[in-house]
C-alpha cells in the first residue's frame, strides 16, 4: 500500500531535481498531490524567472482558498488578503508602487462569487496588474461546494440533488467588462502558461488569465484531468486576438480554446 505520505516524498524529490527553487519558496505547497495548482505554480515561477524581474520587485496578492495560499509558496513579496478582495488590494499595491510587478491570484469562488463585483471595475480601470483566476469550478478549501463556474447538475454535499444555476464563463465576463488582455490557459500545460503569462505581464494594463485546472480531491466528475485534456485545445494559428467582436463570438462558441483570446490593439 502506498500512503499519501510516500506519494509526497516522491513529489518533493522530483521538485528538488528540477532546480526550480529560485522562485518557489522552500516551504512545500500544501496543495493535494495531483492538484492542478502545481502546474500553474510551475508556469508562473518560470515566467518570473524568464522575465528576469528581481523577486523583491514582484508581489503576489491573493484571496482566500486553496489558490489563495499561493503567496506562501513563492519567494516574492506576498499579501494573502481576505476572501474575494484580491483585486482591490492588488489595485492599491500597484498604484502605490508602479515599479512592482503584481500578480493577483485567486480561485473561482474568490473571483466570481464573493469577489465577483470587483472584476468589472478593475478591468474598466485597466490597472496594470496580472490576474490569475484558478478555475477549478469548485470551492476547494471549504471542501467541495459548487462555484459559479460549476456546470448545471453538479452534485456535492452542498448540492446533493445537483445545482440549478447556469455557470458563468470568466473569459466572457472579462471581455464584457472590457479587459484589455484576456487569456485562457490550462494548468496541465505549464509551458503554455509561462508563454502567455510572459506576454500578459508585459502588457501595459489589466491582464486576466483564466486558467482551467482540476481539483482532484473534490471534483471527480467535471474538471477532471481526463476531461480537461480532452476538452482544451489551442486557438488556431491564424486567430487575431485584437479583434474584439471576433473574440466574443469565439468564446460564445467555444468554451475550451486556450491562448490569448483578446489583446487591445495598438
Amino acid at each position: 500500500m502506498k500512503t499519501p505520505g510516500r506519494d509526497l516524498a516522491d513529489k518533493v524529490a522530483a521538485i528538488k531535481n528540477a532546480h526550480v527553487f529560485d522562485v518557489r519558496s522552500s516551504s512545500l505547497p500544501t496543495w493535494c498531490p495531483g492538484c492542478g495548482y502545481f502546474g500553474i505554480h510551475q508556469g508562473l515561477n518560470a515566467c518570473i524567472r524568464e522575465l528576469g524581474v528581481p523577486l523583491h520587485e514582484v508581489i503576489t496578492v491573493s484571496g482566500i482558498g486553496c489558490a489563495g495560499r499561493y503567496p506562501f509558496f513563492t519567494k516574492t513579496y506576498g499579501l494573502h488578503t481576505v476572501h474575494g478582495r484580491t483585486l482591490p488590494v492588488a489595485t492599491g499595491v500597484k498604484m502605490a508602487n508602479p515599479d512592482l510587478t503584481v500578480y493577483a491570484v485567486g480561485g473561482d469562488g474568490d473571483g466570481l462569487a464573493i469577489g465577483g463585483g470587483h472584476l468589472p471595475h478593475v478591468a474598466r480601470r485597466d490597472v496594470n496588474i496580472n490576474y490569475l483566476l484558478f478555475d477549478n469550478s469548485i470551492y476547494g478549501l471549504t471542501k467541495g461546494q459548487p462555484s459559479p463556474s460549476s456546470p448545471v447538475g453538479m452534485k456535492s454535499k452542498a448540492s446533493p440533488f445537483g445545482t440549478h444555476d447556469k455557470p458563468l464563463n470568466a473569459t466572457l465576463l472579462a471581455l464584457t467588462y472590457g479587459a484589455s488582455f484576456v487569456a485562457r490557459l490550462f494548468a496541465g500545460d505549464p509551458e503554455g502558461i509561462t508563454r502567455v503569462l510572459k506576454e500578459g505581464t508585459q502588457h501595459p494594463g489589466f491582464a486576466i488569465f483564466h486558467i482551467y485546472t482540476s481539483c482532484v480531491t473534490f471534483d471527480k466528475t467535471f474538471k477532471t484531468w481526463a476531461n480537461l485534456k480532452k476538452w482544451v485545445h489551442p486557438l488556431p494559428d491564424d486567430y487575431d486576438p485584437t479583434d474584439y467582436k471576433q473574440a466574443f463570438n469565439r468564446v460564445l462558441e467555444d468554451d475550451f480554446c486556450t491562448g490569448v483570446i483578446y489583446r487591445r490593439g495598438e
Partner: protein
C-alpha cells in the same frame, strides 16, 4: 475510580481511518449507556496529509467538557501520535501498530517517547486486518478490536455500531470490518491476557430514553428543520458549512430550499427578504462573513424585520484560525454595524441548547421583529454529544408573528408605538395592509422622517422592544448551594461546560463556590446577574478570547470588580485552569 471517566484518543494521518474509528468508539460507548463527548481535529487546509486526532471523553455522568488528560491513545501513525504524549495521564494505555505501513525509526517511535508507567500494547493492525478480511483497509477496525479487549468493552457493542455504520455499503463491507475488528479483539485478548484493564465498568446495552449522537452543527440543522425552516441562504465558511450541507439534503424533502448565495451579504439580504415575506429563513456563517452582514443586520433592526443568523465563531481577527475555537465575536454580534442597533444575541452552551435555542430563535425573531444572532463556536459546532433525541413542542415552534387586527384594515399603522414596542406586523399579500419598510428613520406609518422628536421616539420604541424581549429569553442558571459564595464563576458558550466541571470539582472538595451560566448575551438579565455577583466574594469570568468580551459587557454590574481569565489559544478551555484559578482566588482571599 468512583465512576467511569475516561478519555480515549485515536491519532493518525489523514487516510488512516482515524475519524471513523473515533466515531465508532463514541457510538459504541453511547450504545453501552455511557455519556460521550467527542471532538475531532483534522487538517482543514492541507489535504491528503496531516494529523487527525479524535478525542472522546466517556463517563457514566453527564460530560461537561473535554478532559485535561488522555487515558487511552490508539495510534494509527506513530509520527503523528508523538505529539499526543504530553497529554497522556499517568498510568495510561497506548495501542500502536507494531508493523506499520510506513517504517518508523526507532527513536521516532511512540514507545521511545512515553513515560515508563504507560502501558504499551503493540499489535500488527494492518496484518491482522489483512489476514482476517483480505485487505489492510480494516486496520483501524483491528485497532478498535484491540482497544475493546484491552479496555474491557463488550465486543457486541462494537458489532452493533459497526454493522449500523457500514450497512449502507453492503454486507461484504460490514463483514470485512467485523472480521478485522474480531481479529484485533482476539489477538489482544490472547496476547495481553495478563494486563487487560476494565476501564469501563462493564457497559451493557443502554437503557433509558434513546439517545442520538449529535454535533452542535447537526443539532442546529435539525432544530431548524423541526422549527419549520423554509429557506436557508448561505455561503460556505468553516465551521458553519456543515449546517448548510445538512439542510441541503433535508430541506428540499420538506418543500423548502437551500440556496448557496454568492456571498454573505447576499445571504443575509435574502434572509431578510424571505422573513419580510413571512417565511422562516436563516443563514449561518462565521466571523468574517458576519462582519459583511452587519450593515444589513442593522437594516433588519431599523425596518423591524425578523432574521436568524448563526455565527459559528472561530479564531480571529480576520481569517484568523479557521479551524480553531474562540469566543471573540461577542463584540461584533452585540455591537457591530452602524448606529444604536440593539438586537437579540443568544449563545448555547452545549449541543442540547444548540437545538433548543435555534428552535427558539425563529419565534423570537418573529415576535420581536428583529435579527436574532445565535452565537456558537467551533468547539460547540464540531463536538458530538450523545443526548436524548431533542424535540420541539408545538408551542416552541408556533409562528411568533403578531398580526394586525382585521379592524385596522385600510388604516394600518405598521410601526405603531406600543408599550412593549412590538407593532402588529402585516405580511405582503395581505389585503388592506400594504406599507413600505425602510432602513431610513421613519414615522409609525413607515414614512421617512428625520425630525428630532420622531427619531427619539422611534429609537426608544425599538430599544424598548429589545428590552421587552428579555422575558422570553433564556434565564441565567446558577449552580451552587445558594447564598453567599467565596467565588462565583460566570461562563458562556462552550466554555461554560469547563466552568461547571471546575466548579463541580471544587464543590466536591468542599469549596463554597458556584457557577452562573449566561445564555442571553443581549439583552441580558442584569438584575439576576448582578444579584449573583453581589453574593460572591470574588467573581471569575473565564473566556476563550483575548480581551474578555463578556466581561466587558457585564462587569459594570459589579463596578468592574471581576477577575478575567482569558485564553486565546484556539483550544477548548481546560477545566483544570479554571479550577486552579478558583483555588488561587480562594488563597488570596483567605
Amino acid at each position: 475510580m468512583a465512576g467511569v471517566d475516561v478519555t480515549v484518543e485515536v491519532c493518525g494521518m489523514a487516510g488512516d481511518g482515524t475519524i471513523a474509528a473515533g466515531g465508532l468508539i463514541n457510538e459504541a460507548m453511547s450504545a453501552g449507556g455511557l455519556s460521550v463527548l467527542g471532538f475531532d481535529s483534522y487538517p482543514a487546509e492541507i489535504r491528503g496529509f496531516g494529523r487527525c486526532v479524535t478525542r472522546s471523553r466517556i463517563g457514566d455522568e453527564e460530560i461537561l467538557a473535554l478532559g485535561d488528560e488522555t487515558h487511552v491513545l490508539i495510534s494509527l501513525n506513530d509520527e503523528q501520535s508523538i505529539s499526543r504524549v504530553p497529554v497522556l495521564a499517568k498510568d495510561s494505555a497506548v495501542l500502536f501498530d507494531s508493523n506499520p505501513p510506513i517504517y518508523v525509526q526507532e527513536e521516532k517511535s511512540l514507545a521511545a517517547e512515553v513515560d515508563p508507567e504507560t502501558m504499551l500494547f503493540g499489535m500488527p493492525f494492518g496484518d491482522l486486518a489483512t489476514s482476517a478480511a483480505g485487505t489492510a483497509r480494516g486496520r483501524n477496525l483491528a485497532a478498535l478490536g484491540g482497544f475493546a479487549a484491552v479496555c474491557g468493552v463488550p465486543p457486541d457493542l462494537f458489532h452493533l455500531v459497526i454493522t449500523a455504520k457500514f450497512k449502507s455499503k453492503g454486507e461484504k463491507v460490514v463483514d470485512a470490518n467485523l472480521k478485522s475488528f474480531d481479529a484485533g479483539y482476539a489477538y489482544a485478548k490472547e496476547r495481553f491476557a495478563d494486563c487487560l484493564k476494565t476501564m469501563f465498568s462493564g457497559p451493557g446495552r443502554a437503557e433509558g430514553p434513546e439517545k442520538v449522537m449529535l454535533s452542535g452543527n447537526l443539532a442546529i440543522g435539525k432544530a431548524a428543520l423541526d422549527a419549520g425552516l423554509r429557506l436557508y441562504y448561505g455561503y460556505p465558511i468553516t465551521p458553519a458549512t456543515p449546517i448548510m450541507e445538512y439542510l441541503a439534503k433535508q430541506l428540499p424533502e420538506r418543500g423548502g430550499a437551500v440556496v448557496q448565495m454568492e456571498d454573505e451579504i447576499a445571504s443575509i439580504g435574502a434572509v431578510l427578504g424571505a422573513s419580510f415575506a413571512g417565511a422562516r429563513s436563516m443563514t449561518a456563517t462565521s466571523g468574517p462573513g458576519f462582519a459583511l452582514m452587519t450593515e444589513l443586520i442593522t437594516h433588519g433592526v431599523m425596518a423591524e424585520i425578523p432574521a436568524v443568523i448563526l455565527n459559528a465563531q472561530r479564531g480571529g481577527p480576520s481569517t484568523g484560525l479557521p479551524t480553531k475555537t474562540e469566543q471573540s465575536d461577542l463584540h461584533a454580534a452585540v455591537f457591530g454595524g452602524p448606529g444604536d442597533s440593539g438586537r437579540i444575541v443568544i449563545a448555547p452552551t452545549n449541543v442540547a441548547e444548540c437545538y433548543l435555542f435555534t428552535v427558539k430563535s425563529f419565534q423570537l425573531a418573529e415576535k420581536y421583529q428583529t435579527p436574532v444572532v445565535v452565537l456558537t463556536d467551533f468547539f460547540l459546532d464540531n463536538r458530538v454529544e450523545n443526548l436524548p433525541v431533542p424535540e420541539a413542542s408545538e408551542q416552541d415552534i408556533a409562528f411568533g408573528n403578531v398580526f394586525p387586527d382585521d379592524s385596522v384594515k385600510g388604516s394600518y399603522i405598521r410601526y405603531l408605538d406600543t408599550e412593549t414596542g412590538i407593532s402588529p406586523r402585516a405580511l405582503p399579500g395581505m389585503e388592506g395592509f400594504a406599507f413600505s419598510a425602510t432602513g431610513l428613520e421613519h414615522t409609525e406609518r413607515g414614512t421617512p422622517d428625520y425630525s428630532p422628536d420622531n427619531h427619539m421616539k422611534m429609537s426608544d420604541k425599538r430599544h424598548r422592544k429589545i428590552r421587552s424581549a428579555l422575558r422570553d429569553l433564556p434565564m441565567p442558571e446558577e449552580f451552587s448551594r445558594g447564598g453567599d459564595l467565596d467565588v462565583g464563576v460566570i461562563g458562556w458558550g462552550s466554555t461554560f461546560g469547563s466552568v461547571l466541571e471546575a466548579v463541580n470539582t471544587a464543590r466536591s472538595r468542599g469549596l463554597n463556590v458556584g457557577a452562573l451560566k449566561i445564555t442571553s448575551i443581549f439583552p441580558y438579565h442584569a438584575d439576576m446577574i448582578g444579584e449573583f455577583m453581589g453574593r460572591c466574594a470574588r467573581v471569575l469570568i473565564p473566556e476563550l478570547n483575548y480581551s474578555g468580551q463578556l466581561a466587558n459587557l457585564i462587569s459594570h454590574l459589579r463596578g468592574n470588580d471581576v477577575v478575567r481569565l482569558n485564553l486565546a489559544t484556539g483550544t477548548p478551555f481546560p477545566p483544570s485552569l479554571i479550577l486552579s484559578k478558583i483555588e488561587e482566588l480562594l488563597k488570596a482571599g483567605a
